[in-house]
Subunit: 683 residues, 2 copies
């Protein structure tokens, strides 16, 4: 749908505009008066005029059409105002009012009522509990941030779930002269959410990069879908608050949104090409530079006038899994012609402490030809000329518009002006090497992102069974489902008594395994419900007797017994694998594969992918530690089989939304086959 | 020895003082004239007067005693000037001159000559290739950094191996008003090195914390020894350049020092209580705050006026392995009396967006009683009063001088003055939560550091054999050494021919293992030199024949053959361990223990400790992942045995400095014993 009237309204009503300068409705009106050139209609029941503008009692009293309503009145009145706005055919409303789900159950009720109304209405709503929104071109500031924090125009959009962080960041950005295209405090997301806002910003020509502060998502799959589309055109950079368990608990206590843990967000960001940052300062650097830099290579050139600076930068590159370009003999020979003989011609290129601006220029001209990202380190030394050096760097950039040049100017007073010069000329300018490296790392991941492709997933023609049970399924009751799914499992037969057991063992043979059957006891071995390695009838009888005794003794609730073949007959097993699935509240099914058996808990080596499984997920799994362990232990065929099982499990989870978790552990891998031997489905 | 005349000289000679303002000798003289109140003697062969001061041709011409000589003349002349200084009984010289080992073989020769001279002389030398040294009280600046970068007095000392980084950091510190006690550009360390400088600063009352930028060390053990002594009194914070392999290569190309990799430095820093930082900005924050903060707890309180700020801070604490204090009901009840009902009373304590300075004060007064580190988040919101809030925070600090309070003021223009106020009042003031968290993490590690104790090491009474061989020792020739060392090994017998083999197998029994004996072939299995699981005489004969054939076929250089017992007779083995040692160039022996067998290379799970092994090394090993894996697989006794083996190996490496590496792999662990089955000593 068309959001142009949200960002370019011809008229704005401020419902709850106030004459009291301490009131939010007064600050919003003031900010609008300073920044907005369209018509403003203050709405207030008790006043004729506010801040020199004629006021109206209701939006319906306004004769002119209204594009956008900013609502800042007590929570209880918001729904009826929205209904009025709908009647007045106002297209967009931003609800500033707080007192909704963030403040407890009565607020939650008010919010639910608004949601219900919005289902059948045409008006689109941002908030409630929003700080407002800002556009810089055409300009309006419909927020209650301090009027002294004046956002300037730039090419970065910022969507924030925290109003306080938004105002802090905007304040800092004003000081640092970082510009924005649009700033949206997304609030409680009763209607418009981050995912939809991404879609809006996708086609916004004024926006070159989108930054996000988020704490939770209602619809993770929608976010991924939209983010993938955006990532084809512009980078998204997200700071997710509450990634740690401790942080998630903190987030829960201050907003209404439940947050999940690290893994699912990391996977979702990776899947959709979103650059994930951990700290506000990182987010800040991306706000400044993401629209202006394109990084397509992970091989970096360093030009430095300080050896130590080159060393630290190289350490930082290494920690970020980036590389140094290996310079060709040609380049080295060209460098040798312009640099003193003491210079180090190998990357990092040390052009020495007495480097003049011209020396920087000559070295940069040569390495520009490589078309790789260049980090330029400048440390103010005795004869250094900071501004002049900055000018030469800008010149090089002018000649190579698409070349990513990242100057790092170490020092304080002596280099301040030079840094300002660089920034005013559209270049980054960092204080420390790791800042440049973090930017390169993030933009490289984005720059080489490709949308997911599902060849293997589509090739897998497994007929996915429908799981009708609402109960947990353990043992044979789960095995039948995996059998249908095409996963190779051990043979097993249910039985109730000695006579059935004797029939069962004729099918299964020796050695065999005896287990209790139960859909409530998840860990049968722990209650003594498993006997392994039964070699003959005598042992079998003894095992059954002891199992029955255990059941009586511990009053175990069982559905009967199960007899399995012993998969690892002649100790030929290599390693044990576990294959599992978990339904994430935000992002849906996660498929996990890891070391099983005794190493499972000790080493905690596993790899997760988000369903549906894409080709590149499979590729990454192959190159992961656990992927390599499996490759080393089993043949190619077995490895491919396990990958296929992952896809099948992904499909099972997608078609059966009531399944919460799946555990197949262990899958015994042999040189040329893999056999699942224990099974659990949690519904 | 007494270094007081280095830092409080009554007179300074500047050898190479110059009238040419572009020359280093001119800048040094200028810096001294501005900063130093003692007598200055410019030394220059061709001038009578420089910058208005009488100049001398040689130090010997000066009648007065001279405490310190600053030497800035071409490299070739330095040795003879040092000899003159020695004759003049000058106690200290700082050699600024470059052109020594950093510039190639002829420079290296000059440096070696100076070293030789210094062995028998009394003068103590810093440099060459130093930028100089600075003291702030009493004041002198004997460097050639830009006179506009004026270091101010503070309680942090800074020792740097990179002159360029030093001048950049001093410039930045001047702007940010960070003070120093002493600044030393340590140069090529021909005489005084970091370790000795630590010793000097240990008893310097003006120094409360020591910061280091280092790229390499000549004598790692001396560094550790001195650092441990310093750590008892004041924190050391080190940024090690060239930690990564890539970075080490970069360091090598720009200084003379070879650097080693990550592990050994990390272990050395841990052993000696040194706080290790990775980035210049971290080092910078420690420079400012390390002398003023004592952190003894890893449980933190957060007080915030922004929910999002609390969430991000909690994420950062979690990532740094720190915790949130769990507030008692008493504290919660006290908080509830002063905070609005919407406030979150659980840590992080959210005192809401409209928090007044008084509300900060009241909340802080309550949580101060916990005596835990407090992070105070301030985000500038509509009604916030930054300065007044800063004042209340300072008040709380005044009442609790030892309480670590770490304010984080988010934002830009609106909070600048408040941050300055905090810093002027001796409090930290950070822009981002992760900065406060990094400081707490580092100072907590330091604050809970205890010097190593060697109870277990001393209790181990192993008679350490002397290894005389200069060749590598593989197989039985190494086994005898480990046997003497008390490590339990498989039985093995050497033999040359069929007859000896038959005798050997009578001792060893079946099943057995046949190997070629060679001190040059490290990986015998790879050349087909091993036959496992021989069950009877027939198989034995066949195995020996095939081994002989392989030797002939591949022209293998062998010393004979070896027959071993098969340790894992009835497949009762649990896991395979590898135990090894490596001699690090800087820090001496490293002892490593990890997973052996097929998992060794795949999982790369191992733990390293620096010899000699301290009690806390053992403790950490027990709590490490690999320690837990071993505990789970074997009995207590076996675990203790392995720990004892590590100590023995440590002693073997210490007593036999020609041993470069040791590999015992695998050690098979059974439920109640551990047996080493393959052995290599690299000399």
């Amino acid at each position: 749908m068309d959001f142009s009237r949200l960002f370019s309204p011809e008229s704005i009503a401020v419902v709850g505009a106030s004459r009291d300068p301490g009131k939010i409705g007064s600050v919003i009106l003031k900010n609008l008066r300073i920044t907005y050139r369209g018509k403003i209609f203050p709405i207030n029941l008790n006043t004729e005029e506010i801040q020199g503008i004629k006021a109206y009692k209701k939006v319906s009293e306004v004769k002119d059409p209204i594009d956008l309503a900013i609502i800042s009145i007590p929570a209880e009145g918001v729904l009826s105002v929205l209904k009025e706005c709908e009647r007045k055919k106002i297209k967009f409303a931003i609800v500033i009012s707080a007192g909704f789900k963030e403040s407890g159950s009565s607020g939650l009720k008010l919010e639910e009522d608004i949601k219900k109304f919005l289902k059948t209405s045409k008006i689109r709503v941002i908030g409630p509990n929003s700080l407002g929104a800002i556009n810089t071109s055409p300009s309006y500031n419909a927020t209650f941030i301090d009027p002294n924090s004046k956002p300037i125009e730039g090419r970065t959009a910022f969507i924030s779930q925290s109003g306080a962080l938004l105002s802090a960041i905007v304040d800092d950005a004003t000081l640092e002269k970082i510009g924005f295209s649009k700033i949206i405090s997304i609030g409680n997301e009763v209607d418009v959410d981050e995912a939809e806002m991404l879609n809006v910003l996708l086609n916004d020509e004024k926006t070159g990069a989108i930054t996000l502060y988020m704490e939770g998502l209602e619809d993770g799959q929608k976010f991924i879908k939209n983010a993938i589309e955006v990532a084809k055109k512009k980078p998204i950079i997200a700071l997710k608050g509450g990634k740690s368990k401790m942080g998630a608990a903190a987030a829960e206590s201050h907003t209404g949104s439940l947050t999940d843990n690290n893994t699912s967000y990391d996977l979702a960001f990776k899947k959709s090409g979103v650059i994930s940052v951990d700290n506000i300062d990182d987010l800040f650097n991306f706000m400044r530079d993401a629209p202006n830099l394109k990084i397509k290579s992970d091989e970096i050139v360093i030009v430095t006038n300080a050896g130590g600076g080159g060393v630290i930068t190289t350490d930082a590159l290494s920690a970020a899994n980036l590389k140094l370009v290996k310079l060709s003999n040609n380049i080295i020979s060209e460098l040798s012609k312009v640099l003193p003989k003491e210079a180090s011609l190998h990357n990092p290129i040390d052009i020495l402490g007495d480097a003049t601006p011209e020396r920087y220029k000559e070295a940069l001209e040569i390495v520009s030809k490589l078309n790789k990202p260049i980090i330029v380190i400048f440390s103010p030394q005795e004869t250094s000329l900071p501004i002049e050096t900055a000018k030469e760097i800008s010149e090089i950039r002018l000649q190579n518009r698409d070349l990513p040049i990242l100057p790092v100017f170490l020092g304080g007073a002596r280099i301040e002006k030079a840094k300002r010069y660089l920034r005013e000329n559209g270049l980054p300018a960092y204080s420390y090497p790791n800042e440049a490296v973090d930017i390169i790392r993030g933009l490289y991941v984005y720059g080489t992102f490709t949308p997911p492709v599902y060849t293997a997933y589509n090739k897998n023609k497994t007929k996915v069974p429908k799981v009708s049970s609402k109960e947990n399924l353990f043992g044979l009751s789960a095995k039948t489902i995996f059998d249908k799914l095409g996963i190779r499992t051990v043979s097993g037969v249910p039985f109730k008594n000695e006579a059935e057991l004797q029939k069962a063992v004729k099918k299964i043979g020796y050695p065999c395994v005896l287990k209790i059957a139960s859909n409530s006891i998840a860990h049968k071995a722990e209650v003594g419900g498993v006997v392994l390695g039964i070699k003959n009838n005598e042992e079998l009888k003894k095992a059954f007797a002891s199992l029955k005794a255990k059941v009586n003794e511990n009053h175990l609730k069982i559905n009967g017994y199960e007899l399995y073949e012993h998969a690892n007959k002649d100790n030929r097993q290599n390693i044990e694998i576990l294959l599992g699935a978990h339904r994430d509240r935000q992002f849906g099914p996660l498929i996990g594969i890891g070391l099983g058996g005794e190493y499972a808990n000790l080493l905690n080596e596993s790899e997760f992918v988000l369903a549906p499984i894409a080709d590149k997920d499979i590729n990454e799994f192959k190159n992961s530690k656990i992927g390599k362990i499996i490759s080393a232990a089993a043949k190619h065929k077995v490895f491919d089989e396990l990958v296929d099982y992952m896809i099948s499990l992904s499909k099972l989870m997608e078609s059966n939304p009531q399944i919460k978790d799946i555990d197949i552990n262990p899958i015994m891998t042999f040189e040329d086959e893999a056999i699942a031997t224990d099974f659990k489905i949690y519904n």
